[in-house]
């Protein structure tokens, strides 16, 4: 067997399949936590796991459509997740976010629950830009590409969302 033929054989062998899976897993792993956190806010904790799994399988199947020139891996994965979450919401209503009291002091829990509740009450687009910018840690330009907004619209939505949150938190306190 010549070296070229052997290399070709390697590419088509089960080993190559394993390697691709490994690479995909390694590629996804740094963003898995963000995907889970976004999913919880989009569809609720009970359904988040399934939605993330479905999104990752969908991402694997559509991996050829990812283009690094158009945005980061995280924004592409988040886009796939949001699409999957939208499909899920058409089937089942969303549930509320649950914060584990064991992991946070009482005052912090109160603050977080209040902020979570305030974010949850925002209009969908404002809530999404807040989630994508602060939780998924995506830059404005990538959020704009993801949601098909202009960057100005994203900045404006973020500003409006912060103002709305401030008002709601002041009212609740």
């Amino acid at each position: 067997v010549t070296m070229g033929a052997e290399e070709s054989m390697l590419r088509s062998a089960p080993l190559a399949s394993m390697a691709r899976e490994m690479d995909f897993a390694a590629w996804v792993a740094p963003h898995a936590g963000v995907l889970a956190a976004v999913a919880i806010r989009e569809v609720g904790a009970a359904a988040a796991e399934d939605v993330v799994q479905e999104a990752l399988v969908r991402a694997w199947r559509r991996r050829s459509t990812f283009c690094a020139d158009r945005g980061s891996a995280r924004s592409w994965l988040v886009a796939v997740l949001l699409d999957q979450a939208r499909r899920h919401r058409t089937r089942r209503p969303a549930l509320s976010v649950v914060v584990d009291p064991a992991e946070h002091p009482a005052t912090e829990i109160d603050e977080r629950l209040t902020l979570e509740a305030a974010i949850a009450e925002l209009p969908r687009r404002q809530r999404q830009v807040i989630t994508l910018h602060y939780l998924a840690d995506l830059p404005v330009a990538e959020i704009a590409a993801l949601l098909e907004f202009t960057t100005g619209s994203v900045k404006s939505a973020l500003h409006d969302a912060r103002s709305a949150l401030r008002r709601r938190l002041e009212e609740s306190s």
């Binding site: 067997v1 070296m3 052997e6 290399e7 054989m9 390697l10 062998a13 089960p14 080993l15 190559a16 399949s17 394993m18 390697a19 691709r20 899976e21 490994m22 690479d23 995909f24 897993a25 390694a26 996804v28 792993a29 898995a32 936590g33 963000v34 995907l35 889970a36 956190a37 919880i40 806010r41 988040a48 796991e49 399934d50 993330v52 799994q53 479905e54 990752l56 399988v57 694997w60 199947r61 914060v99 584990d100 992991e103 946070h104 977080r112 902020l115 979570e116 974010i119 807040i130 910018h133 602060y134 939780l135 998924a136 840690d137 500003h159 912060r162 103002s163 949150l165 401030r166």
Partner: protein, 402 residues
């Protein structure tokens, strides 16, 4: 700070907290046909096997090594399942560590210890020579592991002998392979070394595996298959003390009873291995750990059986010894860690399987089937070595043990 800035800061803390509090996510087995849209999270997690476990530092589920404490030559082989690999691949087992490599990969294709094609290299002596440039091929190397140093693949400048390339231990990542603690060392390509290298040492198995390739995907695929196996592909158990037997009269549990003395009339005792076995498997062990094995064809088996049965009874000594074996006529059992030996498993359609232990590493040398012994001869040692593969500690001359 404006009110908007304050809210911005508060949202950033919220985002960081939310990311940190996110539940763990199992990456799905994306190519599995078993996956369905509504598979439950726990069930999916159970199906992840290599991907998720590698992602969390190689916690690879596998069978534990079968540490047999049986007496030399007295017991039939324990029923173990030979290591297998998916279609298109083949399993390679060394000291109980196993990986899958493409079926087309050769074994032992190296020059001066440097792989010349995609190949598997087992620990052993290499030619004392150097090479100018490392071929751009992939390789899996298994080495005996000594704690305190990390074996490295041969370098282009100084590829003289696999045993001389060890360097002081760099920082490694603690992992587990099966239930065995291990350490992983990874290196990226450099101008001097245009290869990815992944080295994993498993002290409890006295073994290290080095996977080197110009292609990271190849390494990932091979490391994903790393596991512990109870037996190699020919059914040789990964660990045994059968290949290390003690001379008659010592306190070792392996000592046979009623062993005839050298010089007893030939032909008055039954053959050590009955003629015409349906199969004869030769397993080579070092320190009790499987290193190489082979299943002989009919002619090879007949020749080896005849050679062994024709040897005089008793045990042998030698004019030289290796490693920790300094006395040519020791009276105490030698620790199996220092010994090299073989087991020969002869299977028959109409009678019980016979297991013979053959020791060539430490005196007394010889072969034992549990009931009687044969002296080790140069011809038998040579035949065993060539039957199973490369060996350390050979050649040497054998003489009847006084």
């Amino acid at each position: 700070m404006t009110e908007d800035d304050a809210m911005d800061q508060r949202l950033r803390r919220w985002g960081a907290d939310a990311r940190a509090a996110a539940p763990p996510v199992s990456i799905p087995d994306v190519t599995s046909a078993r996956w369905s849209r509504h598979i439950a999270w726990p069930a999916l997690a159970a199906a992840l096997v290599a991907i998720a476990l590698i992602a969390t530092a190689v916690g690879i589920t596998a069978a534990r090594s079968n540490k047999q404490a049986s007496n030399a030559g007295h017991t039939a082989p324990t029923a173990v399942t030979p290591a297998t690999a998916p279609e298109g691949m083949r399993a390679v087992v060394f000291h109980g560590l196993a990986v899958n490599v493409p079926f087309a990969w050769s074994t032992g294709k190296a020059h001066c210890g440097v792989p010349t094609e995609n190949t598997v290299l087992l620990d052993g002596p290499t030619e004392a020579c150097g090479v100018g440039e490392l071929p751009a091929v992939s390789s899996v190397s298994f080495k005996q592991f000594t704690p305190g140093s990390v074996p490295t693949p041969p370098r282009a400048c100084c590829a003289l002998d696999g045993s001389t390339t060890e360097t002081p231990a760099p920082q490694g990542q603690p992992i587990t392979v099966g239930d065995a603690p291990a350490t992983r060392y990874r290196s990226e390509p450099s101008p001097d070394e245009p290869f990815f290298t992944d080295t994993i040492t498993v002290e409890s198995h006295q073994a290290a595996i080095i996977v080197r390739s110009p292609d990271a995907m190849t390494i990932n695929g091979i490391i994903a298959s790393l596991r512990l196996e109870q037996a190699d592909t020919n059914g040789c158990v990964s660990y045994t003390e059968q290949a290390n037997f003690s001379p008659p009269g010592t306190a070792s549990p392996g000592a046979p009873s009623g062993t005839a003395s050298p010089g007893e009339l030939e032909g008055s005792v039954p053959p050590l291995i009955p003629d015409n076995p349906a199969s004869l498997t030769v397993c080579r062990y070092f320190g009790g750990w499987i290193e190489q094995s082979n299943v002989l064809n009919e002619d090879e088996a007949a020749n080896l059986v005849a050679l062994i049965n024709d040897a005089p009874e008793g045990t042998s000594t030698s004019d030289s010894a290796i490693g920790a074996c300094r006395s040519p006529s020791r009276t105490q059992p030698v620790a199996p860690a220092a010994t090299e030996g073989f087991t020969l498993t002869a299977a028959y359609p109409d009678q019980e399987t016979v297991v013979v232990a053959a020791q060539i590493s430490c005196a007394p040398f010889g072969l034992l089937n549990g009931d009687s012994t044969r002296q080790m001869t140069s011809d038998i040692a040579s035949a065993l070595v060539s039957a199973a593969g490369a060996s350390k500690g050979w050649p040497m001359n054998f003489y009847p043990n006084p």
